[in-house]
Symmetry: D3
Subunit: 267 residues, 6 copies
């Protein structure tokens, strides 16, 4: 099924803005929803303000849509009451609306913070059970479970993206592992709009050499990231590296002595 | 750490009643909480009525406890608003209360319905990602994620029991796989009160021959179920069996012809 | 080695007739043998009546052949004496004849009934040991062993086809797993006539979504089935499906409530 | 179930004689059958001459038995007609008789020659598909398939012993791998008379260090061989060993030079 | 074979002194050799000064010994000429001497620096190929290869100990992984003197929770370390830990916020 | 980086001569070094006599080189003193020289004799730990360790070739496993000159059907051997084969009887 009419929630946010620009003019209808005011600027765009906590409004919002890209919700750590209202109830409302509207698929912006309490030396897949690092991360784990319910029981294709660090470029060492370039984010959403799946959880991450995440499930769906945070690695790494040598290798203090290896082989 | 002061939520319910009887007199304090009225009947019992949706009340409820057995919440499928209030917010309140009280561990009554949309021929472990079969099951999956947050981030040991069918005896074929005897339920809770773990999800199931669930994680913690639904299998199976033969074996209609095998080897 | 002169035993049977039509005119010689009368109808066909229980006649029958497609024998369940005479001794006679004639390869029509006592939830390969469901199935298992003897000891390439349900189209649920389309049967025999192998046991089955059999060994030899019983699944499945839901999923009675998933995802 | 009344076919043969001596006086009834004349010599023994090719006679022979140890048949390579009559039809007759008599279990003397065309460097299990090395080996493979039919379809426990080299002591290098001591043979049969199984194929081999066969299935049933051909290894090996060194190690001619390793570590 | 007469090379060094004290009076003869002067102080001790680079002297040194504990050599990084003379040629001399003397076994003090260029996040076994971090580490890798030559070709049992940090107690974070307590060192040497092996490379490390090394090979030989650097972990870790949290977990800056987990679960 | 200036040590030897002919005229500079006299015969060749035991001379020898193909050293079993001087110290000198000259990569001619004490039935990879069969093999294992030190610590790419039997054609059965054709040797060296690696140990062997070595690491680097010793197998095998049959198969003496299998399937 080709998605022609697409709803983006949270369309005024950072991720929403990236998508809006990339998807403009490519679909019959791009319905842009947010709780903050927006203006339509491209052909096919339709502005539809909505509070996700309002179940009836969300049901209307979904009407006539083929696909939903659900970016809406609070994207930072905050108190329980807001989390329960916007991220928990809001996501339930969104999926209920999608079910009533006969929406074919929902792309859900989960987050790497759903698994943030894993140590760095663990390679995760979308099948790795949640270890949220925050209330925020917990609501994302919940959204993945909602997605599973509606996929397996109600037949709504659900792609959950555990988005890493969606930034212009990686600006610290952690982001060398977690970076999702703007272009790769768009690529991944495009996959979500066209691929054949039931319920999948994948990581929203570029093809980073240092990625902590085995994203082969995304690759099987057709995701082909082109960016790699490693391009920025020298920039990020240069100064801290030498001092850290003894800590990285098992040989400890024997290592740095006369050490002359190639910069790019360290670590 | 030995748990001496124990809180049971949902203590007036079916599972709570089983536990209350078995644990009576074995701890310094057994605080029994429910939203319905109860009366203390054994030494060491303390009745503490509470609505789990009331965060402040739950915080008081947890005060001074070493361990919590969290059975409270709605145990059947119902509408979203009740689910969000009692099972979602209620479980958050419980864990927040436990954190403030310095509780060592929480045993959370999750449910097999958190994974109910898996087909029967899949062997699941506690690590199998949720596929809820209902709003109810979704709230249980959520509770497991809450448990992960509080375990890994806040140091509360969390044991999640995906309870099967806790019944006097299995009364249909499905229960031959999912049965949890009353005694094994108590055994499993005892393990939860004494074993060493961080965050574990296990199935609440007896040592059923036909179990769909690989419960080795529970066994590693020390769980030693003694009951097996199979004891009741003949009773459950007898009549339906013969007719189903051709469907069970690959040989189809060739199978029943002259078939004389032992009853107990079928399937 | 290219097979140019080919013997088909059991050529008047159902499978033999399919092959005869498909192979007509494609080889230097197609020797068609059966115990029932036949008439040559295409160029290159040669009719050679023969009783497989007659060792000397079978030896003559094999003379000058490059390959044998051994379909002959009783294809249904019957008494021991006939089985021993036609299927057991007959197959020994065939292979002895092939050895004396220096035949390069024998394609042996084994049957899925050689493994019919496996339950449906077991995925079998050609390496799965026999569990015959009948005297008939036992004679097929025996034929596979004869093939192994002549392959490994006497250098006759042997391809054993555990044929499923070779029908115009699947007409019951079991056949959704076991169906072998007429065209795929021919494809598989063509592979047997040209591929490089010593002794292989594969399943004669189309590329059915619900196949019980991992036929990768056949795929490695070059078999590329094009038909899939699934095309007929809706037809076969439609009515029985809904009622069976609770039995298929672990969630039991929680599953069908409000269940609205896509038809094609069930099971 | 405890076997009290036991039939041994082929009781006058080499293996039968070993068993007869060891089992004498230990069961309520030991019915000893062979086509050659025998005399009862111990209490509880009963002589029952029988030609296995005579189906009716075999049916009588099985009457009243709890268990059958089926050693009967031709134990060497010979022509097809004898093989079909005695080993093929004879074994079918035996199992049919057992079924009619309600025999609980049959221990079938298969042979390592059912898998004789495997190279030595392959470690086999009872699940390794037959590669007979002879007509004799083929009949043993057939017997295993008969056993599967009667076990899975008719509920007769079947233990197939792929007997190695049952000799007083190993007398050549091959037997260092294949030796089955008389005592271990008896032990294995005892396991067969008491253990709980449906259909198992195991190797009849002692705990030889050089065994080609992973007999863990037998061990799981309780078989605990006490003999090891290795005890006789030095005797067998001594002279040939030194000359063979270069062939055993990858280093070739570099190996024997100055070679001084311990005798017992070679190979 | 029980070792009664034991040679320790490098007996005056740090490791040698530990062993000498622990082994005193437990063997018929303890021959203590070093290039520096020593004095016998216990019964059964014999002082035998020797330069390992002197092949003839080393041959005499080995005379009459059952076992050799080869600790001799330069234990720090230095220039090539000394390394080649003492550690390379010296070790060859030692093994040649052992061979001529018919020594049963040699325990060789290898070093973790033979694998020092592996990053910390790699779990190594004795089978992990060398990645020396220094000339010193290279000579230890060489010694392991010498040991293999003499074990497999000449029948001298060889146990190579890749010794970690043999210290009174761990004094930095690296040593939490690499610590070998004095007592565990002695235990490991005792295993080397009594166990049954051909050629084994194991790590000389206590049962440290944070060990980088899978020492199961040593455990299979019977090594049962009783010390664990973790006992000293709090001491070592305390201050640096909190600041490092964000770096250890995938959640980055989301992790430390409100983080209250148990000290001992970190990392 | 493209290697333009290449040093070959041991250039007058058997392997050196093969390389010299194949590489002539393909690089800016081919510096040919040996301890025996040579004459330049092709454009771009430069003769540079050198004793590898002379560290200063070797340092000069490496000056200005991009890559070194280190074939120099004693290629047969001989006494310790020569081994230590030429193969041990010589290889250290070579790598030290390479480090000072900033050489990008070294291809080191190791040998299959570094692992010669493995039995033939073990499939080895470059990661298989050394089991030298000789002093010669030990020096090759040492060279691999030197290569690891300089690769991981000093950034010199190191490819170690455990060369099999580099001969015009295989002339005995062992060489059917170990043969390295002249052309494949050149191909492998070409891979070493161009591929991207840090430290690799691969086998120098053609694509022999009977190879004992899993050379997939070499294939990953791009090595595509075209020769297969099997082409010469019939020649080598013919006579010995028949007599050896009983020894190869588990069936022993049952095998050769009437054995008529295809020549090429044996073994």
């Amino acid at each position: 099924m080709t998605s022609k009419r697409i709803l983006i929630t949270g369309a005024a946010g950072r991720l929403g803005t990236i998508l809006r620009q990339s998807l403009a003019g490519r679909f019959e209808l791009l319905r842009l929803s947010d709780i903050v005011p927006m203006t339509a600027t491209a052909e096919g765009e339709q502005i539809a303000p909505c509070d996700l906590a309002d179940a009836a409004a969300v049901r209307d919002l979904c009407e006539g849509m083929d696909a939903v890209i659900h970016l809406g919700g609070i994207p930072y750590e905050t108190g329980w009451s807001e989390m329960l209202r916007t991220n928990i109830a809001g996501t339930v409302n969104l999926y209920e609306g999608a079910r009533h509207a006969g929406v074919d698929r929902v792309i859900f912006a989960s987050s790497n913070h759903a698994t943030g309490m894993y140590p760095n030396d663990r390679t995760l897949t979308g099948g790795s059970p949640p270890r949220p690092d925050s209330r925020y991360g917990l609501t994302k784990a919940f959204g993945e479970d909602v997605a599973a319910l509606y996929a397996y029981k109600h037949g709504i294709r659900s792609l959950c993206l555990r988005i890493g660090s969606c930034l212009p470029k990686p600006d610290n060492r952690r982001a060398l592992s977690t970076w999702l370039s703007h272009k790769d984010f768009v690529r991944l959403v495009e996959v979500g709009l066209t691929a054949d799946y039931v319920h999948e959880i994948v990581y929203g991450v570029s093809r980073n050499t240092r990625s902590w995440w085995d994203n082969s499930a995304a690759y099987r769906l057709g995701y082909e990231p082109l960016d790699n945070a490693e391009v920025y690695a020298a920039e990020v790494e240069s100064i801290e590296l030498k001092a850290e040598l003894a800590r990285l290798y098992q040989g400890g203090n024997f290592v740095p002595e006369e050490f002359t290896s190639r910069r790019e082989w360290l670590g």
